[in-house]
Symmetry: C2
Subunit: 189 residues, 2 copies
């Protein structure tokens, strides 16, 4: 499906983790080098544009993962409810039940948004659009579906913030449970 070389694929995963933990400004090349085991020579060989290109590639990588595992089910599953259920499961697994933070959401908050604004807007925009479309197919009125989709994505982002603030993973799983109810899915998968 994606034809990125496998090593580059996992390389981007490691770099993503550094950005997630330290933010764009805080993720120094030294930290990235230590995490990946690569020297500056290699890093600049793979990403001639430096840190900014790394971040851009990482966002695109995440976007690709969501496209395959979150947006595609919402769009392609004949049963919209099943697609929404797949979305929630993929979301829970991606964010490791709240252990992980949303890198795109974190980038949206500080001034690094100015560098990646287009990618950030696109990521959340598609998430909400595809979810709203699935909700509409499952019986909600269009306007109501849009609001509910926006509310859902916001609830996920907020739960990630709160879970990390409270250092309590249950915050995230409670939020997902409420969302299941709110979206008309059977409780407890």
């Amino acid at each position: 499906m994606r034809r990125i070389a496998p090593d580059r694929d996992q390389l981007l995963g490691i770099v993503a983790e550094v950005f997630r933990e330290h933010g764009y400004e805080g993720a120094s090349l030294a930290l990235i080098g230590a995490a990946t085991g690569l020297g500056k020579g290699s890093l600049y060989h793979f990403f001639p544009g430096g840190k900014e290109e790394m971040a851009r590639a990482v966002i695109a990588h995440i976007d690709g993962w969501f496209e395959d595992n979150v947006f595609a089910p919402l769009r392609d599953n004949a049963d919209p409810q099943a697609g929404i259920e797949q979305m929630l499961e993929a979301t829970d697994s991606y964010f490791r039940s709240g252990r992980r933070v949303c890198l795109v959401g974190a980038f949206a908050l500080d001034e690094s948004r100015d560098l990646f604004g287009g990618q950030i807007r696109d990521y959340f925009g598609r998430w909400i659009t595809h979810l709203a479309e699935a909700l509409a197919r499952s019986g909600h009125r269009p306007g109501e579906a849009c609001e509910l989709a926006e509310e859902t994505v916001a609830a996920i982002q907020g739960a990630l913030t709160l879970a990390r603030a409270a250092n309590d993973l249950d915050v995230f799983s409670r939020a997902l449970r409420r969302l299941r109810m709110r979206l008309g899915l059977p409780a407890k998968i």
Copy 2:
């Protein structure tokens, strides 16, 4: 109520804005100096502990504002519904209807959480606790009140993230409108 010298009070407001826009790592002393008009000499005179003490003071300052304008109404207003309404209005005005980001939430996301974990946990913890208490007083069952309070604070945080990501203030006002409905308040203040 608060007996901080007035100039220090507004100084903290300016420094807070720099942290909000650039994050803890991104807020350099040069930026803070430029924003406040103070040289390093003055900054280190007021905050001998440097950047970390500035951030700690800024969080405490924000916490104080929320204590006076958000938590107190929730706690002290005899009519819990009115207190909740006051909370939402104060929240809307504090975040400038979505133009502003939550500094404490932003700090929670990256590794600066490790420095300020206690203050961050306290801020959100008290927000949720006081809101849950007001909800319980207004008729919700205790467990349900806790969940609804957590859901509300998460929705606010998520809406701030999404509003900035989409660069669309309406995202935040829509979220507040939904919360009013969800919390049993009359629509449109």
